[in-house]
Every structure is written in C-alpha cells, then in structure tokens.
Symmetry: C2
Subunit: 255 residues, 2 copies
Amino acid sequence: MTEANISKRQFKLLNALQLKKFRKQHQSFVVEGEKSVVETLKSAYQVEELFCTLDFADKHATLLSKASNTWVVPETDLKKASYFQTNNSSLAIVGIPASSSPPKLPPNTYGLVLDGIQDPGNLGTIIRIADWYGMPQILCSTDTVDLYNPKVIAACMGSFLRVEVFYVDLSTHFQAVDQAPLYGAFLDGHNLHEWSFPQQSGYIVLGNESKGIRDYLQPIIHEKITIPRFGEAESLNVAMATAVICDHVKRSGAK
Amino acid sequence: MTEANISKRQFKLLNALQLKKFRKQHQSFVVEGEKSVVETLKSAYQVEELFCTLDFADKHATLLSKASNTWVVPETDLKKASYFQTNNSSLAIVGIPASSSPPKLPPNTYGLVLDGIQDPGNLGTIIRIADWYGMPQILCSTDTVDLYNPKVIAACMGSFLRVEVFYVDLSTHFQAVDQAPLYGAFLDGHNLHEWSFPQQSGYIVLGNESKGIRDYLQPIIHEKITIPRFGEAESLNVAMATAVICDHVKRSGAK
C-alpha cells in the first residue's frame, strides 16, 4: 500500500464530524486511536473510511478488508485530522447504526437510565462502567450528551461496542412501554449499604451533574438510593456514583 | 469599592501560575470559581490576592478581609485571566503552605497512596472521593501530578482544603518511617466483595493510569485487591476504582 496525504475534502469531513449536526447529516462518526479502531473493525459496526499509518496497516493487515476504504497516510496528517493530539496510528469514519427501540431487559438484569448528563467524559466513563459490570443497555433522556461526540467515544475506550445506548422520552417509555422498576440516586434515599436490589430486572437512574434527577421522573422512581457519606464533600461526581452503585448491584446478586 | 482593570503584571503572574515551575518560584497557586474561592477564604489557607466582580464583593463582603489584597475587576477581565472560561465571579492567588511530613494515621483509619497518577482530573476526583469518605490524607509518589495544577484544583471542588496531600518517596516512607499495611488495587488480587479490610489503620494503593502500581512498591504491598469484573471492559478508570474501594473500606467498618 502506498502512502498518500489526507485530501482537503476528507479533512473537511473529519472536522465537520466533531459536530452533532454533521454527524446526523452524514450518519457517521469518528473513532480514534489504535485500540478503539481495531475493536471497531472487529465489531458489527461498518467502518466507511479507515485512515492509518503504514505501521498500523502492516500490524493489522487482516482487518483492513473490514473497512470500505483504507487510506495509508503520514502520521503528521493523522495528528492534524485527529481531535486528540495523542492519536498517531489510525482514525475511522464509522456508520451510525439505524436507531431502534430499547428491548426489555433480560431476566434478573439491571440497566442504567441517564437523565440529562451533559459532560461527554462522564457519559463515556459511565458506558465503560456499564461494560465492566456487564450491564447491557443505557437509556438516556433525549437531552443527554450525544453518544457519538468524540470525547464520549474516547472516554469509553471501546465500550460503546458492547453496551447499547438508546435515546428516548424517559417519562413516556417507563409509563407506556416498560414498567421495569427504577432506582434513583438521590441525596436523601435509602442507605445503599443497607439496601439490597431485588433479584429481578430494573434500572439505576442517575441525574444531571448539577441538578440531579429532574422532577418529571420522580413519580415513576420506585426507590431512592443514597451512597452514604462519611466526610465533608458536598457530592460525588455522577460517574463515581454510578461505579459505586453498579458494584453494589452485583453484591445484591443480580446479573 | 471601585472597579479597576487587572494590570498587565497581574495577568502575567496569573498566567505563569499555570505552570508548576512558577508556582514553585512564587510559592502560590490559583483557585477559581465562587464556591472554591469562598471555601478557601473561610479556610486556614492564606489568600494573597483576590480578584472578583462587584457582585461577588457585595455578596461576600464579610469575607473580603481574609484576603491580603482585594481587586474588584470587570467580568471580562476575570474571564480573560481564568484558566476555565466558565469562571465569571472570582479568582484567588493562594499561598502554598509550608511542606511537612505526613503524620501517622489516626487509629482505625484508612488513607490513600497514589503511585504515579498523571491525569489532573483523576487526582482532583480522587481527592474529592477521599473527602466524601472522610479519609484524612493522601500520600503521592513524587512523580504524581502536582496538587496545585489548576485542573486538579478545579476537579476536587474545594476538597483540597480538607484532605491533606503529601509528596514523598513512597518506598522509603513505608519502609523506614511508617509501617502501616498497604492494600494495592491490582487485576489479580483478592476479590473485593469477599474481602474485609481489618479494623486498624492502613492505606489503599492506586497505580498509574496505564502501568498500574510499579514493581518497586510490590515488595511492600501487604495484600492485592481486585474489583470483580462481570462484563468485558478491560479496566476501570483509576478514579472509579478508588470510589468502589473506598466505599468498601466503609463497609468493612473502618473509619
């Protein structure tokens, strides 16, 4: 394979895909960095354009046919095209899968519900936590930060390939479609350490970074749960709270 | 109080304090944002220069005397001087306290040890977790990111005022000075869910984001601890791991 420069048109597209508007228009998003790109090539996702160094092409030769188009490019071009300056091996334009409705949870399995999470690093980290704890899906309010934001994709380290993320009207969904119980993280609920999640299916609900879970969801929250505090910090970051609660779900024996 | 512009000299100093070299030279660092600045004014830390808007000065009039110098400045100047563009109320130059040696832990209390944490967001979040769980001190290897880095100060949301952070040669310290047992977070240790921390004093050791706990510490690690994984993610972020383990320490009944 011969090396060529990234064209002006390609640079423009890669740059545009940093914005949700253009991701929607092109129905595609960008994955950066060797580990995530390799995992994406191995997955069911469709890699439309793969840009990589000669080194990457040599090392992962058998995977290149999974991409519709492969471009071997200089490392300097790759760095210029990357959102993250540390990326020096590969970058993929990947098709956004057709949207679908969230399936019901398998028996005795917990999922996550996110109400208005704004920080892309938090969403990425939460997806990674769900993946660690084997939670199959996350339902987000429609105003939660976009899954395909480059910072979300970077922070979740490939976990978006294994955890399904849906954007739905949470209120309608949990009243009309799915009656699975919701357990919300609040500052005034049951002490988590003295609480056992029932061995059935349900969702853990986490709220916005500054406002928490909004009022419109409160009528359909089954139980309020609180991580006990032993010191002085006003709050735990939402991703920390997710990790501690997910860990507790597993202590309760649920899948 | 009358409003005046931030001088060129002050801008230069505020800018320089983003770098460790100049923080060391001036023995001071910057705290940004209303909540953190107010907490700092109320603490034992010495606020050398306070820059704030007229609104802030009105709202917190009784606190202003805690600063050696107060400058009421336009919001536009404040934004220009801030590391974080969201800061629109106040900014303080604060003296770095004289360094001291870490005291022994109180009876039946756990602390944290950080070996080479590089990401300032991670260090800030870990300090906030320690504060939530009432852990009084964190011992860092000398190559851990600087506590007074603006991103660390922002991420810990004032918790640096309550949790003491020390930089020491960990190997020497835990061999020659303090023999408190060390419990390290590894991928091949005791299952955390089946492990109980003894009701005595000790430290939880967390390692570098990509390399984990380095070999030089392994001989002095008392036990290896592992957060059980139920899914596919390769690892948990170090701050998540800290939250889950600290939560577990409290379940074990230690302070």
